[in-house]
């Protein structure tokens, strides 16, 4: 399953990284504490968060995540968008809250990272 498949399934809006949507998604991680995401996410994960500042791009690039989905109707800061384009990190937005979006991703077959 690719990032594009997820976008199409949920009608997510693309805010950055439209040329990097064919990445295979290895699983998902939901979290809003950056060091927690750094510690526990895995390469190729799709990251669900409410953080919108540019450091989310640094984290996604560091951990080679497939992309970032902002929930609850949030939009990335303009600095975040610029950095995302530079680093090639897809940023998508959803009007759903995190709990609901993660539930739907899980139903689609995107599994979590299990235990720490």
């Amino acid at each position: 399953m690719t990032v594009l498949d997820i976008i199409n399934s949920f009608g997510l809006k693309i805010r950055a990284g439209k040329n990097q949507l064919n990445e295979e998604v290895t699983g998902g991680y939901a979290g809003d504490l950056l060091s927690d995401v750094i510690a526990h996410s895995r390469k190729g994960n799709i990251w669900v968060t409410i953080q919108t500042h540019p450091n989310i791009v640094a984290v996604a690039a560091m951990k080679e995540l497939a992309g970032i989905i902002l929930t609850g109707g949030r939009e990335p800061d303009s600095d975040t968008l610029q950095k995302a384009e530079e680093e090639g990190i897809p940023i998508l937005v959803s009007p759903l809250f995190t709990f609901e979006l993660v539930g739907k991703l899980y139903q689609m077959g995107i599994s979590g990272m299990g235990e720490c």
Binding site: L34, S35, D36, A39, Q51, P54, K63
Partner: protein
């Protein structure tokens, strides 16, 4: 700890301003770009990026100012972060996962999870953390180079 300074083939120093969340991550980003340009493997780049990012954020979140130095030697990368500020009263407590002294602003941005130091420890081969409460903190960490990564410093431009 590894650190025979006469073997260092590259050295760079960056200044970090405490409380400067606008440029947060810029130093670790520069370090990452340099390592990528030099030709290090993705594993070395990832580990160094994570440790450098966490170290940089600690200075921004908790100190007045700091310097981050990157050293490249034939068999290792070493980063030294020296900061001025309140310091750490109890280093063992600070190393404990989940322990944080972050304020509300820091938490709102998603920092202050209390995992930065343990992320540094997990991603490096050696780590030393010392502090003088009321003065500042000194952090050093080393990432050993194996295999092809050892060839990189030989071919890097001398600075």
């Amino acid at each position: 700890m590894a650190g025979a300074e006469n073997n260092i083939s590259f050295h760079a120093m960056f200044h970090i301003k405490g409380g400067n969340f606008t440029d947060a991550g810029s130093i670790s980003s520069q370090v990452k770009k340099f390592l990528k340009g030099a030709g290090f493997s993705s594993g070395v780049i990832r580990r160094t990026s994570i440790a450098t990012f966490e170290a940089e954020m600690n200075v921004i979140c908790y100190a007045d100012r700091g310097n981050l130095s990157l050293f490249i030697a034939p068999n290792f990368l070493k980063v030294v972060v020296e900061d001025e500020g309140i310091g750490i009263p109890d280093v063992n407590l600070a190393m404990r996962e989940g322990y944080s002294t972050a304020n509300e602003k820091i938490h709102e941005m998603g920092f202050g999870a209390g995992m930065g130091l343990s992320n540094i420890k997990k991603n490096t081969d050696e780590m030393i953390l010392t502090s003088k409460f009321g003065q500042g903190t000194h952090l050093e960490f080393v990432i050993s180079l194996e295999g092809k990564d050892r060839l990189v410093p030989l071919f890097s431009t001398r600075e």
